[in-house]
Each structure stands twice: as C-alpha cells, then as structure tokens.
C-alpha cells in the first residue's frame, strides 16, 4: 500500500477552483497567525463561499517550542517547570499532573494536608481561568466591558494566591512529593473574603452577559456539537460536558479530595456555544462550593512529605496520570528507563483534542459565528502546540 504525504500548498491548490454556481466563487482566507480573536497564534485557513465557511483547516506550529524534546533532557523536578508554560491559565493543575505521575511511579503517598491544599488551589485556578475566558468571550463578541469585569475579579483572586505562591501567572506551586511552600497564615481568611466578594459578582456576570439578548442570539444554536461527534473527536472538559456527556474526572476517577466534597457537574443539552458558555459559568459556582467545603477542614501536617532531589529515578515502565484542568483532561505519559531523565514524556493536552471539534461545529455557518464558536472552545494555543 502506498502512503502519500501532502503539503498545505498542494491541499489548497487541490481544493481551490470554481464552484458550480456561476455567480459566486470559493476562495481561501487566512485567519491568523496574528489575529485578535484566535487568542494567540492559531492560524485557520478558511475556505469560504461568500460569508459561509466551507472548510476550516487549522494550521499549527507557530508556538511549537518542542517541550517534549526538552523534557527528555531534564530531570523530573525540572520537567514540572515547563508545564507552567503550556496551559498557563491552569498552571497549578499542570504541575499537579506531572507531580501525580511521578508520585504514583515512585510510590510516594502524600498526606491529607497536601491533597486539601492542592485541591483548593486547583479550584481557585479553575475560577481564575474561567474569569479570563468570560471576559475574553465578551471581547470577541464585540463587548469590551466584560473584559474589564473579568480582569477586575481575576486580580482580586490573584492577590490571594500571590500571597502564598509569590507568582502571578506561572505558579509552579505543586512539586512531586508536596508543595513549594506552606499556605500563608492569612490564606483561609482571604479566600473566605473572596468568596463573599465573588458570589454577588457572578450574579452581576449573569446580568451583563448571560441574560443579554445579543449574547444569547450570538451563541444559541451556533456551533452545535453533538455528543457523538464530541466523543469521536476526542473532546473533553467543558466542551464534552456542554454536549451532554456527564464526564468529569473529578467525579468519575476522583483524585485529590474530590471524593470527600459535594458538588455537581453541570451538563448541557444541545451542545451549542451557549451550552458551553453556561457550563463554564456554572462551574465557577461549583468551584466556589468545593473551596468553601474544604477551607475550614485543612488538616495539620507537613507541606512536603518527601524532599526529592534532582536525581530521582523512576522504575522502568510506562506511567500515565490524568486530571481535569479548566479545559479538559491533561494526560501525562512517562516512559522511564531507570534514568533520572524521562525516556519519553508526552502530554495529552486538552486543547489539542478540543480544537478539532471546530470544523464539524462550524461547517456551513457564517464566519461571524466562527468567532463565537471558537471563543466557546476556550483555546490556549501554547497548550496545543506544546
């Protein structure tokens, strides 16, 4: 059997040409890599007929930094640092995924305090990530005010986390074997203050965007993704849940202390952009609930059960650990050959798999709907390219 390797140039040449209709002609338009609504450097090659999108070919690699190759030359403690820079909006969860893989492989059992603190920070960061997404969605749809609201509340939460961690974006807080530092004495009180502050703000979000007729018109029945397509195209996280599949690793394969808290997994019904929007806004409320339940019960203990040095070696084998970040399942696949560096380290990034839902979502729809649908996917491009 022969295998043909094509190139983008050939693909565009093959697909161009006149259509059957005499008065319109299909043409290609480049969207990106420098485009304000692609959230970074995603490039979409759009085949258009008038304003209708016939094909949408994502072209990647404008921020491919070869993290997997670099990781093969780093010890496990250093690999954690690079994950901050992949999906920078859920950096603590990325750290945790690698830490979890290394801990499971090396047989390190962390204590309850560490698991509580990790869970609290993961949920706080999920809120933070969704706040930014909410603001940027508004901006993509042409409203500037939501961006200011989202960033305003994000800064409030940022201050709380910064007090413990010391960084604003690339947190680098979770290490294999524990945490970088213990929580600040003020932490619990300040998070409580934040929850008191943010609850009414969520209602304000609803007044501004959720109940806004224009936003509803722009999102409802736009970019419909059926449950079957979502599963086949590898979607996870809010994208999959928006399509009506109630799958959340926090519920189905609990890690941290998610099995001890009471929360609901919001699930959409239609699978349009509106459902994905609604799922994320609802997730912020659920995250607040989780944090509230855990805050008062943080058990005493060490914040680092075992100080690992850079020479840690994992036993030979393949290890896979996954957890639910703000965008879906992040999987870490480590192949170890008994050295202090991983033989192969692969990240299953949620955005890489969610991105491919864009074409089935948007085929035949208008180009303006593409912006709303893409925004509802909440893509982080450096996580796609790694």
């Amino acid at each position: 059997m022969t295998v043909e390797v094509s190139s983008l140039k050939e693909l565009v040449e093959q697909a161009s040409g006149t259509s059957g209709s005499p008065d319109t002609q299909e043409y290609f338009v480049n969207m990106g890599p420098q485009h304000p609504s692609t959230h970074g450097v995603l490039r979409l090659v759009l085949k258009l007929d008038g304003e209708r999108v016939l094909r949408c070919i994502p072209v990647l690699g404008y921020i491919h930094r070869s993290i997997e190759k670099i990781s093969e030359h780093m010890n496990y403690m250093n690999c954690v640092h690079l994950t901050d820079r992949m999906d920078y909006l859920s950096s603590i969860m990325n750290n945790w995924a690698v830490a979890k893989a290394v801990e499971e492989a090396a047989g390190i059992e962390v204590n309850d305090r560490i698991r509580y603190i990790r869970t609290i920070f993961a949920e706080l960061e999920r809120i933070q990530s969704h706040q930014l997404w909410w603001g940027v969605l508004g901006m993509d749809l042409g409203a500037f005010t939501p961006f200011l609201y989202g960033i305003r509340d994000r800064e409030v939460l940022n201050d709380v986390m910064e007090e413990t961690i010391g960084a604003r974006l690339t947190m680098n807080y979770v290490l294999p074997g524990g945490l970088m530092a213990d929580i600040h004495p003020n932490f619990v009180n300040r998070v409580k203050e934040f929850i008191k502050y943010f609850r009414p703000k969520l209602d304000e979000y609803d007044d501004l965007l959720t109940n806004n007729v224009i936003i509803q018109e722009r999102l409802r029945n736009v970019g419909v993704l059926s449950a079957q397509t979502a599963v086949q195209y590898g979607a996870t996280g809010p994208v999959l849940r928006g399509s009506g599949v109630a799958f959340d690793l926090r519920k189905d394969h609990p890690y941290g202390v998610y099995d001890q808290v009471d929360f609901e997994v919001p699930v959409g019904t239609v699978g349009d952009s509106w459902d994905r929007y609604w799922v994320r806004v609802e997730e912020m409320r659920q995250s607040l609930r989780i944090v509230e339940q855990l805050l008062d019960n943080i058990p005493p203990g060490d914040f680092l059960v075992k100080k690992l040095n850079s020479k840690i070696k994992l036993p030979e084998g393949r290890y896979y650990s996954q957890l639910e970040t703000a965008r879906g399942i992040l999987g870490v696949f480590i192949t170890s050959d008994k050295k202090d560096e991983p033989y192969r380290l692969h990240y299953r990034s949620p955005n890489f798999n969610n991105l491919w839902c864009l074409e089935p979502m948007i085929k035949g729809d208008y180009i303006a709907s593409l912006i709303g649908a893409m925004s509802s996917l909440d893509l982080v491009i450096p996580d796609i390219d790694r």
Binding site: G61, R65, I70, L148, R168
Partner: protein, 224 residues
Amino acid sequence: MGIVTDKLPGALEKVPGGNVLVTRFDEIINWARANSLWPLTFGTSCCAIEMLMATGGPRHDMARFGAEVARPSPRQADLLILAGTIVKRMAPRLRTLYEQMAEPRYVIATGACTISGGPFIYHSYTTVRGADEIIPVDVYVPGCPPRPEQLFHGLLTLQKMIKEGETIREPGVRRKPVISALPEGVTMEDIQGEMKELLVKENVVDVHQAVDKLKWPSGTNDGS
C-alpha cells in the same frame, strides 16, 4: 499651560495678549510620540496574559501612560510589545509585522523567551534564541513573565529614550538597547565587566605566596 511648560524644555515669553513658548521642533515631536504610543496586540504565549490583558485591565490600566490604544493591525501601530516565545515558524511573520508598522516604530521585548529563548534555549529545535535575532529591540523587560509593573517601567524607559532620541536631522538614529530593570546609568557591559573581574579575582592564585603560607606537617617530610 502647566503641563506643556513643565514638561518641555524651552522658554516661555510673555507677549501682549498671551504667552509664546519657544522650543525646538524635535522636542515637540518626540514629546508627542512618547506619550501616544499605539501598541500592536502581538501575544504568542504566557506573557500575553500579563502584558496585554492584565495591563489593559482596570487594576493596572495602561491608559495612564497613553499606550492603551491596542491595535490588531500593524499599519496602525508604532509599538510592538513582544509577549511570548518566538519560534522558527513565527519568525518570518514577525519580521513582516515589524516591517508593516508605521515609522518610527519601537519594540519592547518582554519575558525571558524574547530576550534569550528563556527556558526553551537548550535542546529545542524550534525556539529562536532572542527576538533580536529577527528584529531590532529597543527595551528589554526581564521576567518569566514580568509583572505588569515591570512592563510599565519598560514603557517609561522607552518614553525617556524617545524624548532624548531621534531628531529630524538624523532620522533613524537610536540609542543602544536597554534593560529596563537595571538601575539608571548601569549598562550590560558594566555588569559583564564586573562579573569578569570578580571571576578573575577569585580564581587567580599567587603561587609563590600560597607556597609560603603552606606549612608542612612536622615529621612527615624531613630526613627521608
């Protein structure tokens, strides 16, 4: 008059019916340029959140420095804030964007990646080691990612550079690139020189003196 007469070097002369400000044309132009920078929204990765989003937000508010009119089109922008890693595939596009920007154009490189390649410098087959391999950079802002305050310091540094910089007689003449986090008057060369001096001082041994100081333990070496 306050703000104009305070900020601009020149002489204010009272004439019947009002005041006349006498100054150089260059000063006026540079003053205007420095205070109305229009940045291009060019964010590739993590730094974009801090540099473009957090600074545009209400807490830090870039509008205080007259640089909030972020434009997605390079034709309408004269300040390129590089936020995020530049890889080989992006490099020609970055060059194109830079060349399309309106003259005179300025570049601020923020974050470790755009300065040197940052954490992706070794064993990477794509990461460009510093944006200055592709386009000239005026101000470097270190950090991974830098805080918004650091960007503002870089922006103020650039404004100062612009005010002291170009003249109509010599267009395109720029000052050397600066790192915004360094104290005033200290350059990269000073730091490198100081480090070299220190290394030499610590690692050079005067052999004769060292031998003199060395005392052999008694009874091990004599008479044998």
